[in-house]
Symmetry: T
Subunit: 164 residues, 12 copies
């Protein structure tokens, strides 16, 4: 799931639980999110472009990423397009950022995140930063998105940087 | 650092970095925080009551908890009162909750959290929950505090529960 | 799947394979089993109360528990309500009993049970006890159920105890 | 998926992705493949003969075998007939050959193949052999099939042997 | 303890706890069991035929097998004839089936069973199968014995097979 | 071996080496110790109440505990009542405290204590505390006993607490 | 061994077994291959440019790569120029692609590939892709070469890409 | 190196150190040994029949086997015909017996033998058995050879069996 | 901290917590202890003689040794003279005895002691021996000191030996 | 500690031990070194720019790097600016080069370096290269600095390259 | 079991299986062996001198050593004088040589020998050396005894040395 | 390779790469080095005195030691006299010092050094010490040689010691 941003072509995979999350946690509808992407893939479409190592990409972000998805990636349970595309990132040594949203962690969670990390993924829980004195929940969300873009070396001003 | 709540006697250890965090990230002063605790200990006071296994407690929360503190606890580097008291919780098999604030995680972070978990600690990063449709940053903070109290079976209404 | 018993509120998740097992192995129908529970959840309802850490429970029993479910819990493949609720038990440090029905074990089975145990689950295969001189198959089944209740400190007389 | 050959009774499980593979990569239709087997099972039929340890077989081949299937077998995620039957092979200590078709490997792939191997499976990627100077792609495919039959000690002349 | 069956020569080792188990859990006497075996060895007779790798056997079953015996075999504590003979099976790469009767498992049990499995033993807990709709406790016991014989490829009709 | 204390029913298992220790290291006789217990079991009585998971207890203390006993528990060598009862504590997830008396430790000792700890036991060597300024050897012994009782949440004044 | 391609300077190390492979499996002669490289090194020339970390390269491909070479690299047995140069790639954190040609894998093979991967190498077995409907064996070979070039971000049209 | 025996076709690989051993430790000459084999291969002949998985064999014995050869097999350093053929045995899951002649063992030796064992080899040091009251050194050697033949289920009378 | 004894030159490092321990637990003052040493170093003096591998010593004792110091040595956190000198002992393969005073142990403690042991240290908790029928607390302390001297092969009569 | 070089902005952290090293081992004064950096930070200034992931850098070099610093980084003991900034490099997946100056290594040292490497650091001990026939100690030092710059792809002529 | 030799005081522990071995495999009687020792201990005498760390010895040899004894030492099952004395050797860091007589090895044997080695023991199987051209079985036995004495630096001429 | 020094008898093994190193990096010729040794062995002479455990030595130094040699020793690839003699040191528990000259380290290097260390070797990279203010490259080399001699307790004045 590549976030839409300016000149970058973005591909979106929206799983069923992701749709449910949008409805329950935001004022958006799934189609609003879909409208932001350059290309939208069905999670069932295992044969989509992004499931092929021969299709060139900068990398992939899973945001938010359930512990279930982290573990599916860590243990190679690539049975939908999301986890298959993530698996391709790892085998082609491209960047894969997993914005894990789970708390607290039990040992199994940490083990799965460790395995994913050792396979090359970057585990980035969306922990709010308060040093920038966020005023709204949007500030918190933007900070996390900014950190993700930073990891891809995509310039952005979503993030309050040191000294600003 | 035990949170103050009603009839519970709370003991507070405020480290230097914690003081700095209060000043930089909130509108409080360290002494405002200290005023909330039943007992305040200096981080240098290795001989304080809470550093002794013979002093009875329900457990301990480190909130927020730097990755440095997690690792000090995981690898038994108990050189101040905070980490010594945490070590006592583990050896006496009492509850120890570490509200880890770090992102992204590298392998060393995950390894340290795994070791701490295997020694009995509970790693609980303060990841915001959006299902309750928080309106303010305070809602987010309260939710995390409520989850911590839940782990100690202390009744509270800080947390929006399922079905409410 | 929480067993019904007296004053305890029980919640039931009946998976497709569980329904099939009831039909093939007993004289009951799935609805007969459902009628025994206080609350019945659909396995697909990931958003049910018991999938939330904020919903308070004594713990959970999976009975019978396929090796597939043990492994899904051990490796965090929480993609239905049964495994999601089990994952919640582990992260909230509540009791989780898995009545594993598989034989013989290969190395992968033992590895999965070991991982589940290290994450906090209790593996309890329904091995018949003969010291009580069971007369019927019901005696055997009751003994297993009694042992499960014992693990939750729920008084019961299903189990023939030492010296009786 | 047991290959059809002479006097051997073969059982076939054709998963959805396998059907897709047949259509996309060969001139066959799924039913052409099904016609070659003695018995055809639906992948959803968890209760089929081959899912029972009491049903006697020589072993099983998964050809081609996605990394997803390898990992499901390695980590006991036996949720369809293919992986359940494979699990039965391992617990009954029968032969299980996995013709893994994936490249390159990331660490997670190798870990999963290692776990499967330690549980008793044989990982056999269909790497073409050129020492026999194959003329056509069929020669390459036949060589792989011959090697699989060899592992089951089934005589065959698909394979160009040393000195021929 | 090799089960008596038709043309197979069986050797029996009956330990003290096994004798006690027979008395407490069945209507048999130890001598009734001994009468079924071709050859009976004293558990103290470390120098018996079956303790020598040069004595040829099909393999060995320990039924029932305490967790103590599993662990003695796993950790090479071969101090009586039962565990010594089991050790010989493993070093000569013959079949060794351990019908472990223990529940629940703690981590040490699983570790011991894992070690035994990695050394070549087959852990087979006597978990009752209900798919055959057993009527009596004997049906349950016979099913387990049938599964053991199956592992040695000894034909038998103790086991209700798929489709029967 | 449960220590006698007020209203608690205590069960005692006195092994041969324990009897020898009493005679060699104290002015007591084994029978003096036996007289303190509510119930006395022979170490050979594998079938005693405390060897059964169905018999309910608060937990168990082994005091003093030889490295041999720690290792027997860690590696499941449960061949007398002491180690069998300890094994039951672990599988029923009750408290087990091992007052290990050995020094120095070699790697094997530490490994065994680590395994026991990971299975749920608490290793508590009787290291004298001097902060209470003990006057006699009895003070030292009482302090250790007090710490043990503390681990079971049994009130006692054997222990000089912080601030007293 | 860098494949020759347009403007890239390529260095070739042709081991004895590689020469044999060329003769046995292709219509080429070793010198034909050598003629394609910018620079040719003798495998015995441990002191060649590419054996020095100070000599700058994009990376290295071993194609085909015997399991012997994988293991020599994994376990640092750098006793000829091929393995020495590969070792340099790893220590300078440059790209190293190993086109492993072996099947089936035993545990030792998988272990060696895992070690090599953890040291930074990319294991890429030349598994034929059929989705592009290859017509000839050359199509299969070109596909593999194209995948290798992709890993170095060298544009090429050897590979049939998704959607073409 | 397959031992010559009656109707079995034997293939011999005699390495340089093996030749030296024959000369130094026996009254034989290397050619005397070669004369006993059906087929003799040069250790440098990596392309010999026995180096190919497609060439069918019962298995292989390395006798005597230096720790160097054990380790080469364990760590896949298959750079001569002996170790290559051994590697083929392991990947084709055939029998491989390594008669290791080294003493004492350091940790590296044990680690290598453990790896080889986990890959499927049988480590069989030629430890003399005295229970048969050997009279000559030949008796001792024959006993070892008899044990090797036993492992291949080749009948022989070199070994004094139990009860003889 | 080298104990003073007759003709041996002793060097003393007295940390801040050690000073506090002397005051709280004994009737001595830190300077009384310092007066016993041949040379006294400040714990902050990282550049002292004993921090250099080139300065020759018999070894080192840390008595008493906090779990914090054990772990600092085990995990190479050599940030004061005590831990730096201990690190030198290990790298120069000299004797290092750590008289660990902590109880009970949690998993982290045991892990740290295991790591220290594997790096060459000797963990020697000051567990009192009662076989010598100590009369006073001094007898207990002397016994421990005698055992330490024994480990350095320094003759002493502090220890009641067998048969005395 | 970022080395000063041409157009690159360098940030310097000079710890207390580093100052001491400068004075003891060179003819420089700490301020001479500070004068070479673009920005100088106090080691106590945990809140400096380089301690924030949001501050963008090429990477970081610790030169020389004590084993204490390696271990602090490996085990996440980030309690001063040096180790905190190093931790940031690892979590942001930037380059971190540790010029470890310690010899000989004990097991704990190697373990710490392995952990640091697995977290992404590059361990580069300043081992002198003699192939360039250095004339002075400065030649040796420059070679090491040149190798470090090479790792950051910063062109330099400090290093005598192959063929020069 | 310390071998008798000249001026060295030897202590002998002769277990029951050892006595049986003497009778079955040699022309000696147990008392003949006992007569060679300076001191003879009963294996049941756990309180003998050699079971105490305070009793000073050069070390200990177990010859021959069953795999049972190796494993008892490796896993700290010190329940007779032989294994208790061996345990003392390891904790006091004295020499312990185990002349293991077992073949072939299974994985459990190798694991136990590895654990024993890591705890400090020396595993020395009595493998006959033929380079000295032994004439009799005594030559072979003497060679092994000579190698043991060498490990203790006890001069002897039992061993044919290089160049003799 | 034992360094020449006064009254010590030294044996030298000069491998081919060592000869090349002498020529490329120093003004010496291989024969100049050979002239310094008491005895010179050919690296191919596997049967030399120092390859036999029965030949008594103080230990062995490999200086300089390539990572290839470290790994050959760690993984028991003892195929020339150098690595065979090193293997003998380890199995006879004599001192083995490996002056490893490699930088930077990748994970495989560290793993090999860790394995070698755990088998008993001492890894001692020749890192220059500057505290003695070396004036020339010879000072640096002498310091390293002095440290090696120190490890063998051979008095020397090559090393500037503390306080000098």
């Amino acid at each position: 799931m590549l976030r839409q941003r300016g000149e970058v072509e973005t591909h979106l995979v929206l799983t069923k639980p992701a749709e449910r999350t949008i409805v329950e946690e935001t004022d958006w509808k799934p189609d609003d999110v879909r409208a932001l992407a350059s290309v939208v893939h069905s999670p069932a479409d295992i044969g989509a472009s992004i499931a092929s190592g021969s299709f060139q990409t900068m990398g992939m972000v899973v945001l938010p990423c359930s512990i279930n998805s982290v573990a599916s990636i860590a243990y190679c349970q690539a049975d939908n397009l999301l986890t298959r595309a993530a698996d391709v990132m790892l085998k082609e040594r491209r960047k894969l950022v997993l914005v894990v949203r789970e708390t607290p962690f039990h040992r199994g969670h940490l083990k799965a995140m460790l395995e994913a990390t050792e396979a090359g993924a970057i585990i980035m829980p969306p922990i709010p930063a308060f040093y920038g004195r966020p005023k709204t929940i949007d500030d918190i969300v933007n900070h996390t998105v900014g950190r993700v873009l930073d990891l891809f070396d995509i310039e952005n001003d979503l993030l309050k940087r040191w000294g600003e």
